[in-house]
């Protein structure tokens, strides 16, 4: 561990009790709000320090997309990042994944600066990004194949992860034969099979219908508690963020800055319909609304808003 990671301690700890879902747990008082700033000595799994990113737009002007982002994520923590569209939250995930480079600042994983993609951090895309020329099984095995894992071991691992997402029967299907929810589950299995420490999820459920999304929330929560991965989950849906996260990080509209952080200490498993979840989401939403208004204003004023594509090279 470099001293760099310890220099920025995790200031917003996850309450110890919230790690494991407990069925039928008594709901405690809603505790959400601005955290008390008690420093904790734990070393962060993912550390963002002073991340800035600027783009050149098509008209040639410089656009600041991310401005001095500082964020520490503990190992095993489930962090949700919310913000209005155009705040650069997806771009932030691409930076952590190493698919894109920040203009200044550092992304640290276990205290080591990120330089390019690595299989310790796997990104799950909104559009799943599965390979249509491969079967479900080959998709799940892909990361292991790239690593040079022997075939027998790969098969075993693939079956294990497909069972984990309840798709064991579909290993020989092609991607286009699956429904949207099933595709996203394959994407999760593919990511997990590469055995990453950190899962980066970029609005993975945004394109799904409500029922499928609810189901996948439950599955993701279960998988998270079974595998102990660190998850950074980007969404524009505040309720989803509160339902899933140990902590919700709110970004401002362009340039993206960390506006505030809300620890969520509600007992797990949660549900989107829990009144406590709704109440907590309301609190986050009140702060978010201001940013949404700014984003809408910018949209109406500009006519066309400069779109920030996470995949674009700066």
């Amino acid at each position: 561990m470099s001293s760099n990671a310890q220099a920025v301690p995790n200031r917003y700890p996850v309450p110890a009790g919230s790690r494991t879902p407990v069925r039928g747990a008594k709901l405690g008082p809603v505790s959400v709000g601005h955290p008390d700033r008690a420093p904790v000595t734990a070393v962060s799994k993912v550390g963002l320090s002073e991340i800035c990113l600027s783009y050149k737009t098509q008209t040639g002007e410089r656009l600041l997309a991310l401005d001095n982002i500082n964020l520490q994520v503990r190992a095993g923590e489930f962090v949700c990042i919310v913000g209005p569209s155009g705040c650069g939250k997806s771009t932030l995930l691409h930076l952590i994944a190493g698919l894109h480079h920040q203009t200044s600042g550092q992304v640290l994983v276990d205290g080591t600066p990120v330089d390019g993609p690595g299989t310790d951090r796997i990104l799950i895309f909104q559009e799943h990004g599965l390979f249509p020329w491969l079967t479900v099984a080959d998709n799940v095995e892909f990361g292991m194949k790239m690593k040079g894992v022997p075939k027998a071991e790969r098969k075993e691992s693939m079956r294990h992860y497909l069972r984990l997402v309840h798709l064991a029967k579909f290993e020989n299907s092609y991607i286009h034969q699956l429904s949207g929810g099933m595709k996203q589950r394959v994407a999760i299995a593919r990511a997990l099979a590469t055995e990453p420490d950190v899962l980066l999820m970029d609005e993975p459920f945004a394109a799904l219908d409500a029922q499928t999304r609810d189901l996948l929330h439950d599955e993701l929560e279960r998988i998270w508690s079974e595998t102990g991965r660190t998850i950074i989950f980007v969404t524009h849906n505040v309720r989803e963020a509160v339902r899933l996260g140990d902590r919700v990080v709110l970004l401002t509209f362009r340039p993206g800055r960390v506006k505030s952080e809300f620890p969520v200490t509600l007992p797990r498993p949660r549900s989107l319909e829990d009144p406590e979840v709704a109440l907590a989401a309301r609190e986050v939403l009140d702060e978010l609304r201001e940013e949404i208004n700014r984003s809408l204003e910018a949209e109406y004023q500009d006519g066309i808003k400069p779109k920030i594509e996470p995949g674009e090279e700066s």
């Binding site: 990104l123 990004g129 590469t194």
Partner: protein, 253 residues
């Protein structure tokens, strides 16, 4: 069923017209080959193995040349599409070069390689390389970015990224370019063989001309068309169908 009937009617009418014109004897047979004359040529040519040999020789040449074009073209196309400078400079050059019939390289090929197999190969490669290169360049651009991002994210890089991600991901976008490259290779080969006397279908065709045997000329023309059609219908149609099944694309009708 209806489509098959339309085909049969069309080709029967075409054949009937040909037979009718031949029967009317408006032109002498050395100017206007008759169906039965062409049939005799085909029968005789296959019976004494001369057509078989010509087909095998021509196929060997075209396959070798085409293979080289595909490999080189993919590498070139990928290189060009991933480098802005190359794209702006080489890209434009290639497009303008494509208007050049590949047989224009023949005099230079003769000087460089002599009157040999290699000169023919060179012309074949020049004929199809550009199509494949341009198709690959375009395919790489059309290919959704998410595939290469996902591939890199899962640990693929360098040759592995090309082989396991970029190549299969771009296939649906380059299959028509590969097909075009094949057609150019086949045409260039026949042209070059007509100029270079050494076996092959082009030479058999020219032999028909030298002997004023127009039936033989038409017979070889039919063979050239048939082979081109079979490769297109079997190899490329098969490839397209395979891709459609895997990707779940609906066939263009």
């Amino acid at each position: 069923m209806k489509r098959a009937a339309r085909y049969i009617i069309f080709y029967a009418a075409l054949f009937g017209l040909w037979t009718l014109l031949a029967k009317l004897k408006i032109w002498p047979p050395y100017l206007f080959p008759t169906p039965w004359g062409v049939w005799e040529e085909l029968y005789g040519g296959f019976k004494d193995h001369s057509y078989w040999i010509a087909i095998v020789v021509s196929m060997k040449r075209v396959l070798l040349g085409y293979l080289v074009s595909v490999v080189l073209g993919m590498i070139l196309g990928l290189g060009i599409s991933s480098n802005k400078f190359l794209e702006e400079t080489m890209g434009g050059l290639l497009v303008s070069l494509q208007s050049l019939p590949s047989i224009c390289w023949w005099p230079l090929a003769l000087l460089w390689f002599g009157l040999s197999q290699n000169a023919i190969l060179f012309v074949v490669i020049m004929g199809s390389l550009l199509s494949v290169t341009l198709a690959m360049e375009d395919g790489r651009k059309q290919m959704p970015k998410i595939f290469s991002q996902a591939g890199r994210n899962l640990g693929a890089k360098g040759f592995k990224l090309f082989w396991y991600v970029l190549l299969p991901a771009s296939l649906p976008f380059i299959v028509s370019g590969l097909k075009q490259g094949w057609a150019f290779a086949w045409r260039s080969l026949i042209t070059a063989e007509m100029l270079y006397m050494s076996l092959g279908l082009g030479q058999v065709l020219m032999m028909g001309r030298d002997l004023s045997n127009m039936s033989a000329v038409v017979a070889v023309m039919l063979l050239i068309v048939a082979i081109g059609y079979i490769i297109d219908g079997v190899v490329f149609k098969g490839m397209e169908r395979h891709l459609q099944n895997k990707w779940g694309l609906t066939p263009a009708t």
